[in-house]
């Protein structure tokens, strides 16, 4: 049994410690907003926050996160009213949508430390998040939109 702190809730899961956090979130806890894209930290679809930092849940063994705060898209503060979520809707960023929760979780850590990021800064920060629909320019617009609204 591994005690976890996910989206500010204490839960315990029965999983081997080397199980990727991704599968614990998705299959044990039913938090399917975090996506599987590559399994090797190369696409960013599985991005969540661990101790407030963006990490790739596919490459973090659940045993390492016992007791540490994990936030998924489902636990993003404000839900539909979160400034990033609102900006994503206002800009109409998603196409297929599959990568977008990872994009938003990655973006959140940029805004936390750079309140008015430039296009270059954003593109650099989003380097690890693939979007096959290539919504990168709309990701930039949405992050800047959120920065303005915040």
């Amino acid at each position: 049994m591994i005690p976890l702190n996910v989206n500010a809730r204490a839960v315990t899961v029965e999983a081997a410690p080397d199980t990727p956090l991704l599968w614990v979130l998705r299959e044990h806890l039913g938090l399917t907003g975090t996506k599987y894209g590559c399994g090797v930290a190369a696409c960013g679809a599985c991005t969540v926050h661990l101790d407030g930092e963006a990490v790739r849940a596919c490459s973090v063994p659940v045993g390492e996160v016992a007791g540490r705060p994990v936030t998924t898209i489902e636990g993003l503060p404000g839900g539909a009213e979160n400034p990033l979520v609102r900006a994503w809707v206002a800009v109409q960023t998603p196409q297929c949508g599959y990568c977008q929760t990872g994009q938003i979780m990655q973006a959140a850590t940029l805004l936390a430390r750079s309140p008015r990021p430039s296009r270059e800064e954003i593109l650099e920060h989003m380097q690890g998040n693939l979007c096959r629909c290539a919504t990168y320019n709309q990701v930039v617009d949405a992050i800047q939109h959120a920065a303005r609204e915040a």
Partner: protein, 724 residues
């Protein structure tokens, strides 16, 4: 193009192809108070809520907003009151182009355009008839405003919600003719941007992808797929894996081995240790490097005629008599779709039939194949058309759904069959690798007299549609050979010859289909001819293009980019491409790319793209521009880095670590503008792709005088071209 179309209750839409489309009441919308289904597409509740069925699944292109919006337009619905449902898989929702629910070739809006307008108009007519009867007035005196029936003479008004209290679909639905449709000038919704209905859920992770389906008692599975067509499992070490906690089955399949278990993590861990010996399949020896060499030999060997795809006038004679012949060769490597959601399908086989949850571009085929496999009637197959985490042509193939049905039947429990990314890539259904040789005859004055395009590649049509289709088309693979011609240019004699070899490699349509490699070759040659003539490449195109629409996109792209303005350290190049079939209308586009070349490093940077596109009537302009932007960036990605290679019959790349797709930092700024227009929507979502590789290569030519002739323009190739 749509003039002269008529539609009856079981009617035929005429317009180049034999379209059939049937309205049937009683399908679609779930039972709810109110009108019930007025036809296959529309139901209205007493509170005014209008439920509209989207006939095809959403894969990111926004059709599940755009298609219901077309119904809403003719229904004269208040868009705020519309609720969208994804339709079931039934003949009533077939695309008249494919006679199937099939999302491919950017033809959803184009294909459903008339049926959906008719459906909206028909539902509106049912409401009007009901109100006319209630008020005792002739129906001709009634009109509508958004979600309201109006009798101007008496000033009476009634909301659609109120009408829904008593209106019901009659036994025989009213016949609608195109004359009953709104004139384009009266559109309130079409042509104006609305918010996509799928976006809020996607921004919160609440969209249900097949990957996210969880059913009581559901098992997880993953499949190790054979490396090429026809290879079958001969032996495997699955017995050793069966004993592990959580692993319930190891199942040999026709072209793979499935590992099944209670927990996905156990299944994936076991998959990593599974090893399978395969029978030699059709492609066991396939080596992409060797194959490309043979393709080049083929296109150079004039004694091989290949399949004649297109021919106008007497090109051989014209080439023989030419004052000068310009020839050039090009190649493109295999590419992988890389849709972000690895292929996944959930299936549950019970006494009653089978239920399938899939993100698929071809739900009708999934239903029919499942019925065939299980030996049950199609009515006992339920296919839930889920949102796709990207499709791009890969999900036109249904291999993963077929396997899910087999596995579900074998295990007797619901099962989710999910590909690991490594298996998804190993099982790539590629865009075929190509080699091109183009020969252009010129007269003494430098005018083009003849154009021969010889193309060598594998095939897509037999794998997608069956070999009979290829034979019916006299061997012409319209997917691979798309745009391997200069139909829009004023060239008196042309011929396109396809020299194909089949390598046992799995293929599928890939965004932009043949336009990717073919427009690259064609537009690079056009640029070279311009340079040889001492003419500006844009001006040369304007002089050579025969139709005004094509000239308009080239001119507009040039204006957007300020083509003639000198730049410091960057260069411009242009490319022209198209999408669609002549008989259904072609969308046209031209793109200017601004490129910086680092000669020392042998690297390119694409800084900006300006694309002018004529897509006919844009139903949702902003979304259509986003789709074109997406296809342009696919153009960048495939021109610069994407490359799949085969050795000993197997894909050599394994994940996004060694198959490189466009990432944020390399993304150029993009501007898209619509020019032209019209009264009919044309294909959109793949349009930009073919314009980009030639625009980049032409920009590099402008910068360095060297031609990049092999897609992708890897660093190694750029260095070689600059050094050569």
């Amino acid at each position: 193009m749509s003039t002269g179309t008529t539609l009856t209750r079981r009617g035929v839409l005429a317009g180049g192809l034999a379209f059939t489309f049937t309205f049937t009441a009683g399908e679609g919308a779930a039972a709810q108070p109110g009108t019930g289904p007025l036809n296959a597409y529309v139901a209205i509740a007493p509170d005014g809520t209008i439920t509209i069925q989207a006939p095809v699944p959403e894969m990111g292109q926004g059709t599940n907003t755009a298609l219901p919006l077309i119904v809403a337009e003719e229904l004269d619905a208040d868009w705020e009151k519309v609720r969208i449902e994804t339709a079931p898989v039934r003949a009533a929702y077939d695309s008249p182009i494919f006679r199937s629910q099939f999302v491919v070739a950017s033809l959803s809006v184009r294909g459903y355009w008339m049926p959906l307008r008719m459906a909206g108009a028909q539902a509106r007519r049912v409401l009007l008839d009901a109100v006319a009867a209630r008020w005792g007035v002739p129906v001709e005196q009634l009109s509508t405003e958004p979600s309201t029936v109006v009798h101007a003479a008496s000033g009476r008004r009634m909301s659609y919600g109120e009408v829904a209290g008593f209106a019901r679909a009659p036994a025989t639905l009213p016949e609608i003719t195109p004359a009953a449709l709104k004139p384009v000038s009266a559109f309130r919704l079409i042509g104006r941007d609305v918010a996509r209905f799928d976006v809020p859920a996607k921004a919160r992770g609440q969209t249900l992808f097949a990957m996210d389906v969880r059913l009581p008692g559901m098992l997880h599975a993953t499949v190790a797929r054979s490396p090429g067509l026809g290879a079958r499992p001969v032996s495997h070490n699955g017995a050793a894996l069966l004993g592990r906690p959580g692993i319930t089955h190891v199942l040999p399949l026709d072209q793979g081995v499935a590992i099944v278990g209670e927990r996905v993590e156990a299944v994936l861990a076991a998959r990593r240790e599974l090893s399978v010996q395969w029978s030699p399949g059709e492609g066991a020896a396939h080596d992409s490097e060797a194959a490309l060499t043979s393709y080049l030999e083929d296109v150079r060997d004039a004694t091989k005629p290949g399949v004649q795809v297109l021919r106008t006038s007497e090109p051989e004679q014209a080439l023989a008599g030419a004052a000068r012949v310009h020839s050039a060769e090009f190649t493109s490597d295999y590419v992988y779709h890389g849709q972000m959601e690895p292929l996944t399908c959930v299936a549950s086989v019970t006494e009653g039939g089978v239920e399938i949850w899939a993100g698929t571009q071809w739900p009708s085929l999934v239903r029919d194949e499942a019925a065939r496999i299980l030996g049950i009637p199609a009515e006992r197959v339920t296919v839930h058309m889920l949102t796709m985490g990207g499709g791009f042509g890969r999900r036109a193939a249904i291999d993963y759904a077929v396997e899910a049905v087999h596995v579900a039947r074998a295990v007797g429990r619901p099962v989710k069959v999910m590909a690991m990314r490594e298996d998804d890539m190993a099982n790539a259904h590629v865009r075929p690798m190509t080699a091109h040789r183009i020969e252009v005859g010129l007269d003494a004055a430098g005018r083009i007299t003849a154009w021969r395009h010889r193309l060598a590649s594998d095939l897509v049509v037999p794998q997608l549609y069956g070999r009979a289709r290829l034979e019916a088309q006299r061997g012409v693979d319209h997917i691979v050979t798309y745009h391997a011609n200069v139909a829009h240019y004023d060239v008196p004699a042309t011929v396109t010859q396809h020299l194909y070899r089949e390598h046992g490699v799995r293929t599928a349509p890939w965004r932009g289909i043949g336009a990717g490699p073919n427009a690259f070759a064609v537009e690079a040659v056009v640029d070279d001819l311009a340079r040889q003539a001492g003419t500006d490449p844009l001006a040369y195109r304007l002089a050579l293009l025969r139709d005004a629409r094509a000239r308009a996109v080239v001119e507009a792209a040039g204006a957007m980019a300020e083509w003639s303005r000198p730049r410091a350290g960057t260069h411009l190049g242009i490319g022209f491409s198209k999408l669609g079939l002549p008989q259904l209308g072609e969308a046209l586009a031209a793109t200017v790319a601004e490129v910086a070349v680092d000669r020392a490093a042998g690297t390119l940077r694409v800084l900006r793209l300006w694309c002018a596109a004529d897509v006919g009537l844009a139903v949702q302009p902003r979304n259509a521009m986003r789709q074109i932007e997406s296809s342009l960036l696919w153009g960048v990605s495939s021109a610069l880095t994407e490359r799949l290679t085969f050795r000993d019959g197997a894909v050599q790349q394994s994940n996004f670590t060694d198959y490189e797709m466009l990432r944020a930092p390399d993304t150029p700024e993009v501007q898209v503008r619509f020019v032209g227009g019209g009264e009919v929507p044309l294909p959109v979502a793949e349009l930009g792709l073919g314009t980009v590789a030639p625009a980049i290569s032409n920009a590099v030519m402008a910068a360095t005088g060297r031609r990049l002739a092999a897609i992708p323009f890897t660093q190694e190739r750029v260095r070689a071209a600059l050094a050569g």
